[in-house]
């Protein structure tokens, strides 16, 4: 039996093809959930009543005034819920809350004949609130001890002892901001009651099965009575993994109660103020290095801002902990994780799922400590890359660790790193008001859901008598090209041209109990299932063909829509003829496929195991230019080498790498969520709740030169056709941009001491870093261990900023170098053997 990774000759996977809906996209013919509304008459529109307080008790709610508005049909409240009044899976997300937990929390929903009627109805609903004290910032929550969920610790060895022994020690704090998904298509659900009471919900959801389950429990129906379909999404990025459920449940409740189709589409303001975002994090850390810059130990506490309810915060935190090492071997580790509970939107999945936040902590540490260690940051990173045989702090061997150094070397050459480093130095020496920075950072990202059970998938494949093929699978299409890849997988497995294969929209009555299309796992899991289903059918067809050709079924070959025997030169039949023959021999031409990821396990209580099927690797070099007058910047060039295994679809993978990189760049630079943290009447209000105030990258943020190379000879055994996942890992290539900005800012000063850079590194943040560097230049008497923090305090009103204290070197002052007792068990050797 061939392995999952083997490809036949001339496979359709690996071909460069456009997105399977490209022609529909460019002509506007592609349908999204809300586009269906124009095709159905008599539809009602839902509008939320959003609370104007960060934290309050609802003491009275009067819907009658709304009912007096012409066109208002119904006001949905908690009393209308036949089942469970909860929109989540942790029973902490009431669909209609009695206690308002964040500014903009929807307390009830109005259904109207028009959006305008529903809006006016929502304005007319009278709600009385008893305002309660609120916590908004991470530091407020930490100080108040406001946490939710588990508080896991990731540990290996004895970090305290290792720190004690470390010749070079630093400590600091770091705060990093969240990110709004800003999928171009806002949340949308469209529900109606179908034949025989069946509730049919169109939803822009990454997780149709969970949307179905939650709508069912709200309505007190069984899952078999609710069908959820997702045609496609106008972007998801994790924002539609958990967040659609309650909205779909509202639409479903409305349709059940009124008997009319109900459309619920959030406008951008509602989407940004109601739905969850990427978790901001706060970190305090101590790190130890040897004199050569090898990491010896890390002790840290990372606290995520989970917002008002638990949502996916626990697995997000787990992934953050599992990625705090990024690509670096740290022998002794002790990292505590906590989830703060604040009066903000419920923070949720977002591309990378905590991984980027964990990795940013170590990248910030290295970026800050390198000057104090007197080691170039790129060299410091290279020196600490995992070596074959080493394991992560949670005990998983880093398979293919050699790829990290290989990618690093290849990329240095492709990016012409040494020559450009000299050029940047030359540029900086001759330009007073503009400086350039160059930085290189790696990515190692674990692929699979941390929770083992989610790593399964199903598919349903039909072959019709005319040889055409229709595939269903459990994954959803949000632009990432999953359906394109699945068509290529099916065409490859059945040996037919791509044009034979159509893909049906994802719906829960075709493939049940699916996992979210998330964790970059869509093509690994669903590809395995589609391939399995196709191979069942192909094996049956092979028997039919074998009888016809009078050969053994193993010798039947399926190539480009023709079926023949091995070594044949003049006999073949069409795939369609064979399918027709099979029908008349009463051979079933459809199959359910299934896939489960082998060999993974995870003990969440001990934070140990091998949760990931494999690691995805990559690295990026970025060059930026900073204007010293304003802190504004341009991204001049980025070079990337990224490991996607043997690509299933190179154009799709390239798009994921570039798009992820730019999205990561947005998170780390422009995209700044600011909340009103004043004690005024708008306390808790999201101040950046529109495209005009929350700035996504546009053309101006694309690097002027962007070179992406797919790592070659990268077959990943045990994954469908030797490929690797690609959705999330490239986002973290953007660390190179942030570190290049730090380097450019530092070039305004002596560059020999830690330089803090807030995250996001907005032009303002970069300007303050530039000013700090200039002040350091002026203050030439300062010693290397002194902190350079001037100007980095928050101006006061809103939003996450970097804290004032920095990577303060804590070890060297009291213990002169050379007298360190820990010199004998040097750096990584013992720990490496321990983990082998």
């Amino acid at each position: 039996m061939k392995s999952l990774a083997d490809r036949p000759v001339d496979p359709v996977v690996g071909l460069t093809v456009s997105h399977e809906s490209a022609a529909l996209h460019v002509t506007g013919a592609a349908l999204y959930t809300d586009d269906l509304v124009a095709r159905m008459s008599g539809c009602l529109h839902a509008w939320p009543v959003q609370a104007p307080h960060a934290h309050a008790r609802v003491t009275a709610l009067r819907a009658e005034p709304a009912m007096a508005i012409p066109g208002v049909v119904r006001v949905l409240t908690a009393a209308d819920v036949p089942g469970v009044n909860d929109a989540g899976t942790k029973e902490d997300e009431p669909l209609f809350p009695g206690e308002v937990m964040y500014y903009g929390h929807a307390v009830c929903w109005v259904l109207g004949e028009t959006p305008e009627a529903a809006r006016l109805g929502a304005e007319a609903v009278e709600v009385e609130y008893e305002v309660l004290p609120s916590l908004l910032t991470l530091t407020e929550a930490i100080d108040a001890g406001s946490f939710q969920g588990g508080q896991p610790t990731l540990s290996r060895g004895d970090a305290a002892a290792a720190l004690e022994r470390a010749p070079r020690r630093f400590s600091g704090t770091f705060e990093l901001g969240g990110q709004e998904h800003f999928y171009l298509e806002t949340h949308a659900s469209f529900a109606y009651v179908d034949e025989a009471g069946q509730v049919f919900i169109h939803s822009s959801t990454q997780h149709p099965s969970e949307t179905q389950e939650i709508a069912a429990h709200v309505l007190d129906l069984t899952s078999s009575e609710v069908t959820v379909q997702c045609l496609r999404m106008g972007g998801g990025f994790g924002g539609k993994e958990m967040q659609p459920h309650g909205l779909a449940a509202i639409a479903a409740l409305g349709t059940v109660l009124t008997g009319r189709p109900v459309r619920l589409r959030l406008n951008r303001t509602q989407d940004m103020t109601i739905t969850g975002k990427r978790h901001p994090f706060h970190a305090t850390w101590e790190v130890g290095f040897d004199d050569d810059g090898h990491l010896l130990a890390l002790r840290a506490t990372i606290t995520s801002d989970g917002g008002w309810c638990l949502d996916l915060s626990e697995p997000v935190l787990a992934r953050a902990l599992c990625h705090i090492d990024n690509s670096y071997f740290i022998p002794d580790v002790e990292v505590h994780g906590r989830i703060a509970k604040t009066n903000k939107t419920s923070q949720t999945a977002f591309r990378g799922f905590g991984g980027p936040q964990g990795m940013l902590v170590i990248e910030d540490i290295l970026g800050r400590c390198a000057p104090a260690l007197g080691i170039d940051p790129t060299e410091l990173r290279r020196r600490n890359l995992y070596l074959p045989g080493q394991s992560t702090p949670y005990g998983q061997p880093v398979r293919h660790a050699e790829r990290l150094r290989d990618i690093w070397t290849q990329l240095s050459g492709r990016a012409d790193l040494e020559r450009r480093r000299a050029e940047v130095g030359q540029f900086n020496a001759t330009h007073e008001h503009t400086k350039r920075g160059l930085a290189m950072t790696p990515v190692k990202f674990g692929i699979s859901f941390n929770l083992t059970a989610f790593n399964q998938a199903g598919a349903l494949v039909h072959v019709y008598k005319d040889g055409s093929v229709l595939i269903n699978h459990g994954g959803t299409e949000m632009g990432q090209g999953l359906h394109t890849k699945m068509r290529q997988v099916a065409a490859t497995a059945l040996g037919i041209p791509l044009a034979f294969v159509r893909l049906a929209p994802t719906r829960t009555d075709k493939v049940p109990n699916t996992s979210a299309t998330a964790a970059s796992s869509g093509s690994d899991l669903n590809g395995g299932a589609v391939k399995n289903a196709c191979e069942q059918i192909r094996d049956r067809l092979a028997e039919v063909a074998a009888r016809k050709f009078n050969i053994h079924p193993d010798d039947v070959r399926f190539v480009d829509g023709r079926v023949t025997g091995v070594g044949f030169h003049d006999r073949d039949i069409s795939f369609a003829q064979l399918a027709n023959d099979a029908y008349f021999q009463r051979i079933p031409l459809f199959a359910a496929g299934y896939y489960r990821t082998d060999g993974i396990h995870w003990d969440s209580s001990r934070m140990q195991g091998e949760p990931f099927k494999y690691y995805s690797y990559g690295a990026a070099v970025s060059e930026v230019e900073v204007d010293g007058f304003t802190g504004a910047y341009r991204f001049l060039r980025t070079d990337i080498v990224h490991d996607v295994g043997d690509s299933l679809s190179p154009l799709v993978d390239l798009g994921q790498i570039e798009g992820g990189f730019v999205q990561g760049t947005g998170w780390l630079t422009l995209e700044e969520l600011r909340w009103d943290v004043s004690d005024g009447p708008n306390r808790g209000r999201l101040a950046t709740q529109a495209a005009s105030t929350y700035k996504l990258p546009s053309f101006s943020e694309m690097p002027e030169e962007l070179n992406v190379h797919l790592y070659e000879r990268a077959t990943e055994s045990g994954v469908v056709y030797g490929s690797k996942a690609v959705g999330e890992p490239p986002l973290m290539l953007a660390f190179s941009i942030r570190e290049a900005l730090r380097a450019a800012a530092a070039a305004f000063g002596p560059g020999d001491r830690p330089l803090e850079l807030a995250s996001p590194a907005t032009p303002e943040a970069v300007f303050w870093a530039v000013q700090a560097a200039r002040e350091a230049a002026a203050d030439s008497s300062a010693a290397g261990e002194r902190t350079v923090s001037a100007g980095l305090r928050d101006s006061g009103d809103v939003g996450p900023r970097v804290s004032g204290d920095v990577g303060t070197e804590t070890g060297t002052a009291s213990r002169p170098r050379g007298e360190v007792p820990s010199a004998q068990p040097s750096s990584s050797a013992p720990a490496r053997s321990r983990r082998r």
Binding site: H181, E658, S692
Partner: protein, 496 residues
Amino acid sequence: MEPIEVNVNGLVRGSAAGPNDSLLDWLRGLGLTGAKEGCAEGECGACAVLVARSDGPERTRWTAVNSCLPPALAFDGGEIVTSEGLGTAGGAGVAQELHPVQREMADRGGSQCGYCTPGFVCAMAAEYYRPDRQPAGSEGPAADHGPNGFDLHALSGNLCRCTGYRPIRDAAYALGQPAGDDPLAARLAAPPPVVKLTRSGPGGSGPGRSAPDASGFVRPGTLEELLERLEQQPDAVLVAGATDVGVERNIRHARPPLVLAVDRLEELRGLHFGQEHIEIGAALTLSEIERGLDGRVPLLSQLFPQFASRLIRNSATLGGNLGTASPIGDAAPVLLALDAVLVLASKRSEREVALADYFTGYRRTVREPGEIIRAVRIPLPLAPSTAFHKIAKRRFDDISSVAVAFAATFDGATVTNVRIGLGGVAATPIRARATEDALTGRELTRESAAEAGRIMAGEGTPLDDHRASARYRAAMLEQAVLRFHAENLPDLEVAR
């Protein structure tokens, strides 16, 4: 509700629209769901469509605009092309016929989720059909231009969250010239249709955004009629491109009692070059002014690309930008530095007011009820040394946290005259008078610039908000003077 007729994709479509229905609402109501609402405030461009607009007296220009902002009623009698009208995807019984723009976007991976794509396609098509787009010569393409002359700024009003833009740029730069038999190219040789003098009074009602009996829409045929109606109903709202009014309607749900469409009023659309001043009609779009001035006011040339995206500049007007009196509108600081004068007209009179005397408070001006901005006059001669600094998070298409405009005259290295306009640092756009005084009559040196910079940092009363801290704003004022010195330094040193 008022039935309107619009030529959409070559077919005249008739359907009712209310005064508060956007063009996007109306198109989607027809089942043309290609154009999407992404942000409802003209930032993302997912709603972009092509409108036939005049290009000189006898020609048409395909002009991309955000359909989420303007009222549908303003397009009565007009002509529009949407992504559906550019090409067909193919499918049951329909052949695939992609437009060259669509073909390049599809083949190069220019779409992922596809939601922003129809808007990108329309914005790209407008640039594809731009009459003066020429392939680059031997000196190579200009900055942000492709070898085919494609100006990437044409897409600066379109946001994509998936691709990272590189494939979209490649698609744009790969486009050739329209084929000889391209019907949309051929269409440019004739003038656009004349829009109708639509009126939709209070009294209508229907399923749109409008509450019954609340709002009206009138397109006056003459300036006289406009001023007459405004006299009768001073709380009416003037709409040209609706780039501000549309946001008020979509985001803050403003429902003005009467909308008066002024975008086609010829009396407001003049551009006159006189001996003493240049007069710019208040209802000319920024794009039209840009083309009409053709670089003759260098400070405005610096302003335009930074003012807003091409999609917005195709609709926005100086009348609107100054009429809303926003403290962060980018035109005001520039026009203050240019010492501009506004011509205010009402039914009874016409008067001139210096822009420096026009603003009286936060979004308040000397403009009286019934009075409109008819034109903006820029005195001649222009100061020879000018600069515009826009401080914002994003380089393209963002709102300023601080905007600074300089217009100076030097005698050697000595500043003989300087005007500095500031936006974003006070309740109104202001002149930096103390800084001007500190610079005037002195040589511009590193030291004098530093000294003036410290004074500049104290101009206005900058606030902390989500765009920037007060401290950063003040620092940016100071830095602007240092930059002005640095950028003029080579010339000054030669003069010395």
